[in-house]
């Protein structure tokens, strides 16, 4: 049983917690399986697309991003992605100038809207990409978000 099945079977982390407690599983074993380290280590848009299984990505106006143009603080930048591409089952958020490009990778089964809002950290002013997988292909939209010095500065 891999971790994803364990999560589903247990309806939560009960099974894993038990396995951890019993010493059957080490934390690394459990998490490495379901966390795409290679993708989260990438340092460019193209490499991330590749690591997520795409041969490339084309720009699409059917992906809508709601973000501020200027973020008062880079520690918390709200990002909403909504896809109008049919069969959208995956939405990822990428930040070009962060030390690691990939921020989040959401899997949205049938019945779940192709829509997600979260908040990301931005090291500096950068392009933010919404990457969408639809029908086996990758599409993206981009938006530049300016990170400013807030408060009293310095």
């Amino acid at each position: 049983m891999d971790r994803r099945e364990a999560l589903k079977a247990g309806g939560g982390t009960g099974v894993i917690a038990l396995a951890l407690a019993a010493g059957i599983l080490k934390p690394e074993d459990v998490f490495a399986a379901d966390w795409n380290k290679a993708a989260f280590d990438t340092k460019s848009f193209a490499d991330t697309v590749k690591a997520l299984g795409g041969g490339g990505s084309s720009e699409s106006d059917q992906i809508l991003m709601t973000t501020p143009d200027i973020a008062e603080n880079g520690a918390v930048v709200p990002v909403t992605v909504e896809s109008r591409l049919p069969g959208t089952r995956r939405i990822a958020i990428l930040i070009e100038k962060n030390p690691n490009t990939l921020s989040a990778d959401f899997t949205l089964p049938e019945g779940t809207d192709p829509f997600v809002t979260t908040r990301v950290k931005m090291a500096e002013t950068s392009n933010v990409y919404a990457l969408v997988q639809s029908g086996g292909k990758f599409y993206h939209a981009a938006k530049e978000i300016k990170v400013t010095i807030g408060g009293c500065g310095g």
Partner: protein, 106 residues
């Protein structure tokens, strides 16, 4: 023991609108503490949301999700009174699960 999440789940038309806040430091591993020592990375890697035995959203996160993460999404097939269960697991193996009851349209 990590602190509980705050989950709001309510009907909006025929969909369930879910908003959740998770209590987590989301350390990047790049920050230094007051004495100049690097603080090790500590962040949520996996999130899953289950309803009626089915996963309605799963996510993998990196270190650049903000501290005390917020998530908002919608799914079909739930009704008032149903339970949803949200679970996260972080890179140190800490985990937390919380349940919420779906409320009628607010």
């Amino acid at each position: 023991m990590p602190d509980p999440m705050r989950i709001r789940a309510n009907m909006a038309g025929d969909k369930v609108e879910v908003r959740v806040l998770m209590a987590h430091e989301m350390e990047t591993g790049l920050r230094k503490d007051a004495s100049g020592k690097p603080v090790p990375a500590h962040f949520i890697q996996n999130v899953s949301v289950d309803h009626d035995g089915k996963t309605v959203l799963s996510a993998q996160w990196g270190t650049s999700i903000s501290k005390n993460p917020f998530l908002h999404f919608r799914f079909k097939g739930g009704k008032p009174g149903d339970k949803i269960k949200i679970t996260w697991v972080d890179n140190k193996g800490e985990t937390r699960s919380d349940e919420a009851t779906i409320a009628a349209a607010s």
